[in-house]
């Protein structure tokens, strides 16, 4: 092995077979950093073909996520909602993926991708009803706030199990292929999730069976308090995908245009039957992991400040303004309009109040049982007695 092989063929494998090996180009894609917009909002590479309307829609989608997060974080601390995990700073990957999908495609969120559901047509009020677990919530407040799901828009309900989304996404994609549908699935995972068994299983099955799935890893540098340096010794997260024979890309996770370009290509490859892709979006969790987490205990504030300058909304806003697609004034107007829209929706949904206690007996079993009927009747009798 004196000479450096041009193609990294795994040893022990027959050269006669056509082995899907990875080249230097593959490796460069998985360890470099694909970028279109730099931190200052300057376009360094060709911008994907998108109409002005689409570009504005993506901006507003990110902005809506940001503003909603601000409101929900405040409400959580006021005791108005039980839990909120925000996506501040990570909006680009969510919206880029949502925009790259067709209506029939499936979105499998990890933790911080709820704004993709709104982007793909979930009414804001439906989302807030779920967040509040109020009378309008289809789940009657039984699901963790924010883990909204919707059949109508093919947005899979959230799961708190880390990396469970990888096999879920693969399964959905594989099912679509077996049925001969052209559906593509996007599945999200975090940097912490890449250390889970489910990450390996999902990726491996998808690769072997060429499932039409695109995995997006939101590498936000922190799995609660575990930094990336303690998460993996690999040169990047994306490079792990190459070991499974999956085309893998490392992309600036705060650059919505670069993310869109890479995810869109991956979606098209999947739709054409060419199998899965794995995309690492290099981003940063600007806030805490959740309400019980205090990042000041383990994170250098200088690190957070440095990422503040890489804000995905900021750079995209600068570029949109420079392109005269959406001026700074128009951006401010959009902010105000969306904020009012959110405030109004919150007011309406908060007024709806909690679901009736009797709804506890609903949806327990597909077919009503005598036991449930009896319990419900007893409850209603007791209620009546208490009132009279």
């Amino acid at each position: 092995m004196a000479e450096k092989p041009t193609s990294k063929v795994r040893s022990g494998q027959s050269q006669a077979e056509s082995v899907e090996a990875f080249s230097d180009v593959d490796e460069a894609r998985a360890t470099g950093l694909r970028q279109i917009l730099d931190e200052n909002g300057l376009a360094l590479a060709a911008v994907p073909t998108l109409s002005a309307e689409e570009l504005v829609r993506m901006y507003e989608g990110m902005l809506r996520g940001r503003l909603l997060d601000e409101h929900l974080l405040t409400m959580q601390r006021q005791g108005r909602i039980g839990l909120h995990l925000d996506a501040c700073g990570q909006e680009a990957g969510v919206i880029a993926a949502a925009h790259a999908l067709a209506a029939e495609d499936y979105f499998v969120p990890a933790l911080r991708e709820a704004s993709a559901a709104l982007y793909r047509g979930l009414p804001l009020r439906t989302f807030l009803a779920q967040m509040l677990g109020n009378a309008n919530d289809l789940g009657h407040g039984r699901q963790t706030p924010g883990q909204v799901g919707s059949r109508a828009i093919h947005h899979v309900i959230g799961s708190s199990s880390v990396a469970a989304q990888m096999p879920h996404a693969t399964g959905l994609a594989w099912a679509a292929r077996m049925r001969g549908e052209s559906t593509v699935v996007v599945g999200f995972v975090g940097d912490g999730g890449t250390s889970e068994d489910d990450f390996q299983s999902g990726l491996n099955f998808a690769a072997v069976f060429k499932a039409p799935v695109v995995f997006v890893c939101q590498n936000n540098q922190w799995a609660i308090s575990t930094p990336l340096s303690r998460q993996t010794a690999a040169r990047s997260i994306a490079i792990k995908g190459l070991a499974f024979g999956v085309p893998s890309f490392r992309v600036d996770g705060n650059d919505v245009l670069a993310l869109y370009a890479v995810i869109k290509d991956a979606v098209e490859r999947a739709r054409a039957g060419r199998g899965p892709s794995f995309i690492e979006a290099v981003t940063y969790r600007m806030g805490a992991h959740g309400p019980t987490d205090d990042p000041s205990r383990y994170r250098d504030p200088a690190e957070t400040a440095a990422w503040q300058r890489k804000d995905p909304l900021l750079r995209y806003g600068i570029w949109l303004d420079a392109q005269k697609i959406l001026t700074t004034e128009a951006q401010a107007a959009a902010r105000q309009r969306i904020d009012e829209e959110i405030r109004a929706a919150i007011a309406v949904e908060e007024a709806a109040g909690p679901p009736p206690t009797s709804s506890l007996f609903d949806d327990v079993l597909a077919e009503p049982s005598w036991l449930l009927d009896e319990q419900r009747a007893e409850y209603l009798r007791a209620r009546k007695r208490g009132r009279s």
Binding site: R77, R80, L83, T292, G386
Partner: protein, 397 residues
Amino acid sequence: MAYEFRLPDIGEGMAEAEIVRWLVKEGDVLAQDQPMVEIMTDKATVEIAAPRGGRVLDRCFAEGKRCPVGEVLVIIGTADDEDRTPSPVTPGPTPPFATAPVASTPARESVLATPAVRKLAREMDVDLTTLTGTGPGGQITAEDVRTAKVSAGLVAPAPRPMVTGDVRIPFRGVRRQIAEHMLRTQREVAQFTYMEEVDATELVELRNKAEARLASHEVKLSYLPFFIRATVEALKKQPQLNAYLDEKAGEIVQRHEYHIGLAAQTPEGLMVPVIRHAERRSLLDLAREVERLATAARTGHVSPSDLGGSTFTITSLGALGGLSATPIINYPEVAILAVHKIAKRPAVVDDKIVIREMMNLSLSVDHRMVDGHDAAKFVAEIKSSLETPGLLFLEST
């Protein structure tokens, strides 16, 4: 109309939060969602914004204090409210999920009880519809059911058959106090016991020599003064064991006075006379004091001034003292040391089995404040002093 903002459970099952910093003063006019206070839960420090606009009428907890979940944290009036004493509260459009306790639920609208409680009620033959629940939202708890059963029992006590030969002793006085005190410890303290073995051969030799010398002083020198001295020296090094928990202030108070309680059997029952300022006393002085208190205990003449105020307790049954025990802490102290009998036992010294004077120590500590590591260090300290008792004079007064 004033609005009471109650501290919600913003963590996952938190019970209280410490007020770190108020960002507003009484009299300030707030906008809705304006940050008003920084609080620290056991997990994180977070800012809470005003759930509605208005004038701050009352900040109910000072900085550094702990506010329980569900308590009123701040009272907000309207902007033109000048009154600092809030008018009776109408919750107004309270956010439906604020964790305000449901104190004013419309008269018990149903029997609220979990299946387990319902089962208990059936078993105890208690009618749930006759009870008022004390649980959240008026829920009937298992305790409510038991209380109902007990009070029903008190109203109509079941006749108890007298069996010849049974002796019935009124449960009151010292016995009852002991019972309540012990129960309180069991209820409030997370107690664990740590046991260790001590080679007391040198201690026995020293004490025998000392006793011979002291014959003229008319003082009986037991081992207890040595144990007290060793304990005080160890407490100086591990001040967390000479402490109590001030729950109201949310502070652990470490004492730098060493008042050693001695569990003593009196004709009326267990009492704990106290040796004040054990750290200021010589061994001889300790011996005199131990003897005085022991005599008082034996004859049932312990003076009230000798009781109470101990910072640490030692329990010793002398020659009866068993092998090991799980002594119950003398609340609100954080630890109690039981010293057991000294007896000749085989021990291994320099790889040979020899006869040594061995004894055991059992230390119970309150795990809320003292961890196993500290308990072990404390006992190791005492062990080392007792095994080489000359060390006790290194820092003696």
